[in-house]
């Protein structure tokens, strides 16, 4: 049944070879979510990223990485040593029949093996070849080494996160890889659509640093237009008022924190009014808040003094509220604001439940099934979902090399002995 459904996926006729490390995992997964046949090609012994935690039951094991599970489902898996002559030949054959190739090697590595875009496109001019690196294929930093924190630093993200008097911060779970993988998928599909319309493939050169420029929206535009430098502001929001006033974003509540901001505009006015009504229903709304003329409240001109005065009674009110109660009230009163969710509250969210967001996948070798987030969107006339768990090391070697390339089982054993697969 799942395979039948898969044939109906938007990208079901297409074959993807995925040679990425963690920087590009999400790109192939997204194509897989849309039904493409994605083959993850790992080095013999398995991809190094299988060593990234967390792990199933906390035990480090290349077959138990939850990081691997999360970003490599919807892919089949083979092993292949690209640096051996036999490995290169097998790879060329696979690439000759592929629609997409996604890789995240150091720029020039594949060219050195005569497996770069120039070589592969001679045999397969329709190929869309996506190259994902931290900084791009060429340029002064193209050889720089980078993990998540370096990408976030060079993009400018980190300068906007953290307390003003302490070091810039990153999120405590890598974010840059996923920004990169998802924007890479967008670029890959644009090249694909062009190929479908013109017959011409091309290379897509993705820079992680550039992908992350969207993660902080328009912060740089303040500098561009007015030479005003946006900086990290800890738990506050800046840039909404031309007076430079900053608004509190995070408020301690009974069991954690809430995200609530005094906004302007029509939506802000409704929210501020609704909050005061909620406070008043508990007898905690001071007169000056009740008498405030929200219709003329202008967030773009508000002063820090005015903001501080408004925030003081709101802070005292929120200390008596739980996260669950806050979510219920903002929904009911149509207010802006949400609790700061920890993972368990995400699983408890009634909206995700109602939309059947969660999906369970069997992991027979672990003797269990695991609940995953499902597809990234709902399409009216095509499925977008998780079809299969992430591959074990070399799980589909026989299926692909014998079943598709026509190797004999004996040859497969020989390739294994020689360290090709």
């Amino acid at each position: 049944m799942p395979d039948q459904e898969k044939r109906a996926g938007l990208l079901s006729p297409f074959r993807v070879l995925d040679l990425t490390d963690e920087l590009g995992f999400l790109c192939g997964k997204i194509l897989g979510d849309l039904g493409a046949d994605v083959i993850k090609i790992e080095r013999p012994g398995g991809d190094a990223a299988r060593g990234i935690g967390p792990f199933f039951h906390g035990r480090p094991d290349p077959e138990k990485s939850l990081y691997w599970f999360g970003f490599n489902n919807n892919k089949r898996g083979v092993t292949l040593n690209l640096e051996s002559p036999r490995g290169r030949e097998l790879f060329s054959r696979l690439a000759g029949g592929a629609d997409f190739l996604i890789e995240s090697f150091v720029p020039g590595y594949l060219d050195g093996l005569d497996l770069g875009y120039a070589a592969l496109s001679r045999k397969n001019p329709r190929l869309v070849h996506t190259s994902i690196t931290a900084f791009g294929q060429t340029g002064p930093y193209s050889r720089f080494l980078a993990s998540d924190i370096e990408i976030l630093a060079m993009s400018g993200c980190m300068s906007l996160t953290g307390d003003p008097e302490r070091p810039p911060l990153r999120a405590s779970f890598p974010q840059s890889y996923h920004w990169t993988g998802s924007y890479a998928a967008a670029g890959t599909l644009m090249a694909h659509l062009h190929r479908q319309r013109s017959g011409e493939g091309q290379q897509v050169d993705v820079s992680a640093q550039a992908c992350l420029l969207w993660a902080f929206s328009h912060a740089h535009v303040f500098w561009d237009l007015n030479r005003h430098l946006e900086k990290r502001a800890g738990s506050f929001m800046t840039g909404r008022s031309i007076t430079g006033a900053k608004m509190r974003v995070f408020w301690p509540c009974k069991d954690g924190y809430l995200n609530f901001i005094i906004y302007g505009g029509e939506a802000g006015r409704r929210t501020n009014q609704a909050l005061v009504e909620w406070m008043d229903s508990k007898g905690t709304a001071p007169e000056f808040l009740k008498n405030k003329e929200w219709k003329t409240f202008n967030i773009a001109a508000v002063t820090q003094e005015e903001i501080d005065q408004m925030e003081e009674p709101i802070a005292r009110f929120f200390e008596q509220v739980t996260k669950k109660e806050f979510l219920e009230q903002v929904i009911q009163r149509e207010m802006l604001g949400y609790p700061v969710a920890a993972v368990q509250e995400i699983f408890d969210n009634p909206q995700l439940e109602a939309r059947q967001f969660w999906q369970s996948l069997e992991h027979p070798e672990l003797g269990t099934s695991i609940v995953y987030p499902g597809g990234f969107a709902k399409f009216s006339d095509a499925p977008c979902r998780i079809w299969r768990r992430a591959p074990l090391i070399g799980e589909h070697n026989e299926e692909i090399y014998c079943g598709e390339l026509g190797l004999k089982k004996g040859e497969l054993a020989e390739l294994k002995r020689e360290g090709v697969i």
Binding site: L34, P54, F69, S147, G156, S172, Q202, S217, A342, K378
Partner: protein
């Protein structure tokens, strides 16, 4: 030829989540029409700084500019039913793709929902991008990305373990959904070309955002572990963080994952005596004394510029980077090399840096090539030339305030 040349896109959309999807399509050559009205302009024009020289004005918003280059801008006051509704339907029938990010239910109220539009344009592709999705008990809740980033758990992961969660700048999660929105539309266009079928795409920014957090969600389900913010720490790397450099609020980042990298870092620092102390001899020891190690690395970086540190460490095979500020981005040598910024002249804003796509397609050129449009700038061009209204029709609709 550009990759998306000839594709016609209409945006019943405002702010970031819808229009930036359209921007990405416009950058590759699609014809994208941004619909607003004088009665209700895009909220980025009216409510969100920065404005050029801090002077408020409908055509002075830097944020609107960033999100809307290479588009046509027309006005259509949707409150003027039924004529406005009829006109909106004609526009939808002209298009290949409709993008909308109203709160769920609004398009239906306006008589412009997918079921209605597909009766006019059977192979229409329509993206509905919303906070929480088109269905479900919370579907109608209005929300902004800057707060949804908290409901989705992101801000829980930023800050110090003992302190408050911290801000992600702007509507972080909206731009995650933007990537997925572009993916969905382009995949649907390819599918339509092969099958003749359209598609309605229900994209919940919440669900798109959670795709970036899958392993920690699994970690809770499988192991019961609740991820929480831990400043710049990384269980697999030490040192791993930001270190002060010479100059005002100047920082570099360094991360060391392996023993080899640790020895290279020590060498680059000149093998100071403290690096030989037994407590720093192993990854485990360095983790146990990480606060002290961070101070010592910071003492080493402080007299140098971040560039000096980065060049020395990268030369030694150690991951390191400058913490770029917003004022550094337009002159960053790597971004400049990629042509990441395109300066375009605007009548009220002056020269502004518009943003290239983060991917370079080797054979098809990309924008930005045209500055963002003024409110209603292309009314005449679009309604008369592209949609084909007669002069009489057009003038009547203007007189009636349908085209305001």
């Amino acid at each position: 030829m550009q990759a998306l040349e000839g594709i016609k896109v209409v945006e019943f959309a405002a702010f970031a989540a819808g229009p930036v999807v359209g921007k990405h399509l416009a950058d590759q050559g699609a014809t994208v029409v941004h619909i607003e009205s004088h009665a209700r302009p895009d909220g980025f024009r009216t409510h969100y700084p920065p404005y050029k020289d801090n002077i408020h004005g409908l055509n002075r918003s830097g944020l609107f500019a960033l999100c809307n280059n290479d588009k046509l801008d027309i006005t259509l006051n949707l409150k003027k039913a039924p004529k406005a509704t009829d006109l909106a339907k004609r526009i939808a029938a002209w298009s290949d793709v409709v993008i909308e990010n109203f709160s769920p239910g609004t398009m239906k109220r306006l008589g412009l929902d997918y079921e209605t539009l597909r009766t006019i344009k059977p192979d229409l592709i329509m993206l509905s991008s919303s906070n929480l999705g088109q269905s479900g008990p919370h579907a109608h809740h209005p929300g902004f990305g800057s707060q949804l980033s908290s409901l989705a758990g992101f801000t829980h992961l930023i800050g110090y373990p003992e302190g408050s969660p911290q801000m992600l700048y702007g509507p972080y999660i909206d731009y995650i959904a933007v990537a997925y929105g572009a993916v969905a539309i382009v995949a649907a266009l390819d599918h339509r070309q092969r099958t003749g079928k359209g598609q309605h795409i229900d994209l919940a920014q919440y669900e798109a955002g959670l795709q970036y957090l899958v392993p920690i969600l699994l970690d809770y389900k499988v192991n019961g572990k609740v991820a929480i913010r831990d400043a710049n720490r990384n269980p697999d790397a030490v040192p791993h963080g930001a270190y002060p450099c010479m100059g005002e609020d100047s920082w570099c980042v360094i991360s060391v994952f392996s023993e080899t990298e640790w020895r290279s870092l020590c060498g680059a620092m000149g093998d100071p005596a403290w690096t030989k102390e037994p407590r720093f001899a192993t990854h485990k020891g360095r983790k146990e004394h990480e606060d002290e190690l961070d101070r010592k690395v910071g003492d080493w970086t402080l007299p140098f510029t971040s560039r000096e540190i980065v060049e020395r460490l990268q030369g030694a095979g150690v991951r390191a980077a400058m913490v770029n500020k917003m004022s550094d981005l337009y002159s960053d040598p790597q971004l400049t090399h990629r042509g990441q910024w395109v300066a375009l002249e605007h009548p009220e804003i002056g020269n502004m840096h518009h943003q290239r796509p983060p991917f370079i397609l080797s054979k098809t050129p990309s924008g930005p090539t045209k500055r963002d449009p003024l409110l209603g700038e292309h009314n005449n061009t679009f309604y008369r030339e592209l949609l084909g209204l007669s002069e009489k029709e057009y003038k009547e609709l203007v007189a009636e305030g349908v085209i305001d």
